[in-house]
């Protein structure tokens, strides 16, 4: 049983980072292209565009945190 639990925990952490990474990338793609479009019209928007583009990175940071908690807090309890 313990082995199955380890597999589940490790896979979960992998999914947590992987999927959130994809999600952040997908969101940033849309924002990034819109930001570049806006900058073509008005160059002063560079700063705002840059900051808006990194906003979805929060998703993957949360994912990373969840994965780390799974690996370093949950996993030792399962073992």
């Amino acid at each position: 049983m313990a082995e199955l639990a380890v597999i589940v925990v490790v896979l979960s952490s992998a999914i947590a980072v992987g999927i959130t990474g994809l999600a952040a990338a997908w969101a940033e793609k849309h924002i990034g292209s819109a930001a570049v479009g806006a900058m073509a019209e008005k160059e002063e928007l560079f700063g705002k565009g840059l900051v808006l583009t990194v906003i979805p990175e929060t998703i993957v940071i949360f994912g990373l945190t969840v994965a780390l908690v799974l690996l370093f807090v949950v996993l030792p309890q399962v073992l």
């Binding site: 560079f46 700063g47 705002k48 840059l50 900051v51 990194v54 906003i55 990175e57 929060t58 940071i61 949360f62 990373l64 945190t65 780390l68 370093f72 807090v73």
Partner: protein, 546 residues
């Protein structure tokens, strides 16, 4: 101490015959921010430019095209000319230079195209078989023999062009400067409102400079130009001129990228000055990387002299100092454990390094969230002060006070878990009060916003996460090189060095960008939304080039 320059609105009016002199005075003083006149009606019209602006603009345009195509920069100016000298001597000279450069350029490009054509014809090979007539071939051969002559001609023209550029570059730069300010002056009436015989200028001036302006106007025009202070409403956008000490100054850039503070709003530059480099340092935290960034920003400062670059590099300089400090706390030097390498395991009975970011990520995570709570709290307190100033105490308590109490309740609930149960009761009571205030202040929708503030605080987890990823990459580079490539010996040793250098340079670039953007984001999204409105304008005095 931290209040910005106080501005006062002024109106300046006089008869039209004094307009030119008035513009001259305002332009040389460089203290008045002119508000453009927009609403025209039958009596008040936008003024007409003085003199032939279009002719000057044309000259300016061609000078600028020369300057940019030959990459002449202001640091090439060696001699300076007084203004009068420039006006009289240079105008003709500039036109002549411009014409000469144009002609030389044309000649060079013509010769170039002839040379290309000759080469093309030659590349066909046997021209007689293609069907060219004999006469043509004879003359073509003559052309080919004179090719070297053409080439030497080309070199001569190019040299001539170079000497002209070298000789005249300071001339041209000075003249560009002079012309653009001259055009500024000529076009100034377009920003005034005028009637048939009078003109009126509206603008902002630092309060401390008002008397200076008044004295000068009185002395120069006696009563033909009149100056007075004008009342203004709170809604009007007052230009902002910061009065920050030198270390804080670069951080104005971060407001420039966002928005300037409105009149009477708290100026957050000082808060940014304290927290921005701190966050940056926590995220990057490496002695080696910090040193690299510090040295390169000092070097780049010598190269890039524009205001924006200076500010950006100034920010990086301060941030890299924090990076070095946190590098000592984390014991990292290009991803290596420096204390272990040096053999220092402890100082004064404290184990070194203080924090190992890989192993102790849980404490760092909790510390990040605590920093987040305090940063958001600081934002809310500033918001409380802002709202109190603008709308009174009641509004401030309902709008921001409820959130402040909510945060305190979270703190004491958390403390209850660790210190004593007593805190749980206090926390519960505070939570209740804050929820009631929230519902009164913002309705039941306010309750949904609790999740917003939670995610704001959790967002500070990135202080841990970004640092972890940067140190992770550094460790991977080191172990690839030291454990896999280097032990093979022979040709792999130089390869190992290449991987090491390229890898760390890449990681530093990523680290600079990621730490900068995320520290910025924490300020713009998490911090500013708690108190900052923005929408102010920058103080741009008439007479200074932007």
């Amino acid at each position: 101490m931290l209040s910005n320059e106080r501005m006062t609105k002024i109106a300046l009016f006089g008869t039209k015959d004094t307009m030119k002199d008035t513009i001259e005075v305002l332009h040389s003083l460089k203290i008045i921010h002119i508000v453009d006149f927009k609403e025209q009606d039958e009596t008040f019209q936008i003024g007409k430019p003085l003199g032939e602006v279009s002719k000057f603009s044309e000259i300016l345009l061609s000078i600028r095209s020369i300057l940019s195509s030959f990459d002449i920069r202001p640091d090439n100016i060696k001699e300076t000319y007084s203004k009068r000298e420039i006006t009289r001597e240079l105008e003709l000279d500039v036109l002549k230079t411009e014409k000469e450069i144009k002609e030389l350029n044309e000649k060079i490009s013509k010769i170039n195209s002839v040379l290309v054509e000759i080469d093309q014809l030659k590349s066909i090979g046997d021209l007689e078989n293609v069907g060219f007539e004999k006469n043509f071939l004879k003359s073509f051969n003559n052309v080919v023999t004179s090719k070297s002559l053409l080439e030497s001609q080309l070199i001569k023209f190019k040299n001539r062009l170079d000497t002209i550029i070298k000789e005249k570059s300071s001339y041209l730069l000075q003249y560009e400067d002079f012309l653009s300010s001259e055009i500024d002056k000529m076009e100034a009436p377009l920003r005034f409102s005028t009637t048939t015989n009078t003109f009126l200028v509206e603008g902002w001036i630092p309060e401390s400079k008002f008397e200076i302006l008044e004295g000068i106007i009185k002395k120069k025009f006696s009563d033909r130009v009149h100056l007075e202070k004008v009342k203004y409403s709170d809604e009007e956008a007052v230009p902002v001129e910061f009065k920050h000490p030198a270390p804080v100054k670069p951080f104005e850039l971060l407001l420039d990228l966002f928005e300037y503070p409105k009149n009477k709003e708290i100026d957050p530059t000082f808060a940014i000055f304290i927290t921005f480099p701190l966050f940056y340092g926590i995220m990057l935290g490496d002695i080696g990387y910090g040193l690299v960034i510090f040295l390169s920003s000092i070097l780049l400062k010598m190269k890039f002299k524009t205001e924006g670059w200076k500010m950006l590099l100034g920010i990086l300089e301060y941030s890299s100092l924090y990076t070095i400090v946190f590098g000592f706390i984390d014991g990292e030097f290009f991803g290596l454990d420096i204390f272990k390498l040096l053999g220092i395991e402890e100082i004064f009975g404290i184990n070194l390094p203080l924090i190992d970011r890989i192993v102790d990520f849980m404490p760092v995570l909790i510390m990040s969230i605590i920093i987040g709570i305090f940063h958001v709290l600081l934002g809310l307190i500033l918001g409380f002060i802002n709202v109190n100033k603008a709308h009174g105490l009641k509004e401030a308590v309902l709008e921001k006070g409820s959130w402040i109490i909510l945060i305190f309740s979270i703190i004491s609930l958390a403390a209850g878990n660790y210190i004593s149960n007593y805190f749980i009761y206090v926390g519960g009571a505070l939570l209740l009060i804050s929820l009631v205030l929230l519902v009164i202040g913002e309705g039941f929708i306010g309750l949904i916003e609790i999740f917003g503030i939670m995610s704001n605080i959790l967002s500070y987890v990135r202080l841990m996460a970004i640092g972890l990823s940067s140190v992770g990459v550094a460790i991977v580079i080191n172990s690839i090189v030291l454990d896999i490539i280097m032990p093979k010996g022979g040709i792999f040793v130089p390869l190992g060095y290449i991987v090491l250098v390229v890898g760390h340079i890449g990681n530093i670039m990523l680290g600079i960008l990621a730490s900068f953007l995320h520290a910025l984001r924490l300020h713009y999204v998490e911090f500013f939304t708690k108190f900052y409105e923005g929408g102010g304008i920058k103080f741009k005095p008439f007479g200074i080039k932007y």
